[in-house]
């Protein structure tokens, strides 16, 4: 408690009795006394003295004692020594400070002093920076072997100087050989086809006899990158590994430092992590059996979208066509069917066949790859024409298995001018060309007429018909999801 005399408190305190005393004097002495009083009053105003009375604060400082509970403390007698230190600190400080005990590893948890006997060093990693950031106390004592392998360098934490920190080691045991992975920097996501860098540090404790070791990066046990690391004379070795994912999805990876022969703790040699691989662009493979206005306009539309990566092959000449010039004056290339439909098909998200008959270019067996591609999540669009469906000999092939139509053995092509109609109560994003169902339906009604269809095509059970043709029974735009369920109500 502080009680402070300050002007005008002091002045009033002095002035009133002084003025009262002066009044009882004789006039001549009174004037002199009052003059003296005024001079004294001015003196006080100029110097403004203060009188401070205070009582001492009896509250104890709060001190946090943080004991390292990571796996490395389980080596030798480190934990026993640490707990012995903690008990000694308790005995020495309990009367002077409010003590709180914590176990820390990758997280901090409060523990009760009386339960110290049950302390187990089982934390997966050591994050000293978390402890440094905790500023609830007037001081902190950290008992640790100092082998941090998560979070930033504790010396670089902003709060390093906010409260006094005392660090003591657990002592005991010899300097054991131990390699560990720490400071792992991984992106939360990546893009298919683009390189992803993994940066981390290998900490090397003790004095290993071996000069080097290997680091491996694996996905589901499959090695995707590795590096030989020199460890001789080094305490911390920065490492960079990288890989280029070829599939989208949430992927699991693991890093492993090959354990040394004399290493006493291999648990920190392995780190697992996940990266979400996204597609940066939608990759489309568009194969057209001949040039057409559909190809021309659809290609232009797809090429104009920066989110689409289009690879297209257009059959400009058939084997039966003549050539009037030497081969080297033709700009035509060999259609790489084998490469596209066996090796590279998984690079794509959507495969389009327009008026394309496979028979002239590759064996039916390649169609199984397309079926597998669709069953594993790929999309396939077959656009009508003389050489699609039955005309393209797709009846009874693996493609018919994934298409939403039954393909007759022969084409039932009919030339008839008509306008396709949206099937009643159909709802699908493909039909929503205007952002409003009624406007979209009106636009579909006003589309240019079509001039033919295959009347032998029938929708399969489970397929959804979106547009209809003449008589309501002709199928024009329909889809199914082969991998989701064979039959849908």
């Amino acid at each position: 408690m502080n009680f402070i005399f300050t002007p005008p408190n002091l002045y009033i305190f002095l002035l009133i009795p002084a003025a009262a005393a002066a009044m009882i004097l004789r006039p001549r002495e009174r004037i002199f006394s009052l003059r003296l009083l005024i001079y004294f009053f001015l003196f006080l105003i100029i110097l403004s003295p203060r009188l401070e009375l205070s009582k001492p604060n009896k509250k104890k400082p709060a001190v946090g004692i943080f004991i390292d509970g990571s796996l490395s403390m389980g080596i030798s007698e480190r934990t026993d020594n640490a707990l012995r230190t903690a008990r000694q600190l308790y005995s020495a400080l309990k009367s002077e400070a409010d003590l709180a005990f914590y176990k820390f590893s990758d997280r901090i948890e409060k523990i009760v002093y009386e339960n110290l006997n049950g302390f187990a060093a089982d934390g997966e990693s050591t994050d000293l920076s978390k402890v440094i950031r905790d500023t609830r106390y007037h001081g902190k004592i950290i008992i640790s072997d100092g082998r941090y392998n998560e979070g930033i360098n504790p010396l670089n934490v902003n709060e390093i100087n906010s409260v006094p920190i005392y660090v003591t080691g657990p002592g005991g045991g010899n300097r054991s050989v131990d390699l560990g992975i720490g400071d792992l920097k991984i992106p939360g996501f990546g893009f298919r086809g683009e390189k992803i860098d993994i940066d981390f540090k290998i900490s090397a404790g003790g004095s290993p006899k071996e000069n080097e070791t290997m680091v491996y990066l694996k996905e589901k046990g499959k090695l995707i990158d590795s590096r030989r690391i020199e460890i001789s004379g080094k305490k911390e070795i920065p490492v960079n590994l990288s890989f280029t994912p070829d599939k989208v999805g949430l992927k699991n990876y693991n890093l492993e430092v090959k354990a040394l022969a004399e290493e006493i703790n291999e648990a920190n040699n392995i780190r697992n992590f996940q990266v979400n691989i996204n597609r940066k662009k939608i990759r489309i493979l568009y194969v057209a059996g001949r040039p057409s206005w559909e190809y021309s306009l659809l290609r232009r539309l797809l090429k104009s979208d920066w989110q689409i990566d289009l690879v297209s092959f257009l059959i400009l000449r058939n084997p039966a066509n003549r050539t009037i010039v030497p081969e080297n004056e033709l700009s035509l290339i060999h259609f790489p069917a084998r490469e596209m439909f066996t090796k590279k098909i998984d690079d794509f998200d959507l495969l389009i066949y327009e008026n394309f008959s496979y028979k002239r270019f590759f064996p039916q067996a390649y169609l199984s790859h397309i079926k597998k591609f669709v069953n594993e999540g790929g999309a396939f669009l077959m656009m009508g024409g003389k050489e699609s469906f039955a005309g393209g000999n797709y009846s009874g092939t693996p493609l018919e298995d994934i298409l939403p139509v039954d393909i007759a053995e022969s084409s039932g092509w009919k030339t008839e001018t008509f306008r396709a109609k949206v099937k009643k109560d159909s709802r699908h994003p493909v039909l929503d060309i205007a952002g409003d169902p009624e406007i979209s339906e009106a636009l579909w009604r006003d589309m240019p007429p079509l001039t033919g269809y295959d009347e032998n095509l029938k929708a399969k059970d489970g397929a959804t018909v979106l547009l209809e043709g003449p008589g309501g029974g002709r199928l024009f735009l329909h889809y199914q999801n082969p991998g989701v369920g064979a039959a849908q109500p």
């Binding site: 021309s296 000449r317 030339t415 329909h478």
Partner: protein, 239 residues
Amino acid sequence: MTAVFAGSPLQADDFSAGNSGEKFIYAQLKFKGSWDPYPEAHKLISYYFTKTTSMEMPSERKILTLSDKELFYFPFLVFTGRGGYPEFTEDQIRNLRRYLRGGGIILLDTSGDDEFGKSAERTFRRAFPEKEFKKIPQYHAVFRSFYLVDYVSGRTLNRPYLTGLEIESKIAVIRTDNDIIGIWPQDKTGNPTYAYIPGKPGQQKEGIKLTLNIMIYSLSGTYKSDDVHQPFIKEKLRR
């Protein structure tokens, strides 16, 4: 997911109904003036086109005016002539503008005729006052859409390059001043009806190649500029 689009605008065999169907139709623009210097050229063009490419071109052509509603069913149009011609009406200019903006492509062959060339320039200036014809570079897809074209040929060699009007990010009007249609007419013995000037070796062959290239370009766009083709094209050009 799999989807089918089982109807097709591609299957009309009767193009006179106003639809080009699966065949590539040689459509030619008729106007008030001398619009048809080579009335039979399209027959040989269609023969070569059908024999050498995977497309069919009927031997009959479609004659259209800028007032015809059917105009929009024929995305490729040949515009050639001799001498000047009366201005098109506003409605016709409006149709021309819609045609080109909607994806149509015009082969403008002035044959080096100044009067016709100036009239044509006026027409396109009215339709697109903000645009002008620019030289088409030698690496453009039109020079490699089917054949590798050595030089811009025709019955004459008035100008060694093509010029084009770019609309909606594509060359929608391809202009040649070399009378490219003029190389096609032949007499009964198979010889060119009209003399080639100057008669350079390979002049006819290069003219044939360029004609077919322009037609294939109208259907395939910049297909031959795709990365997958470049190593092969570069190798052939190197040879």
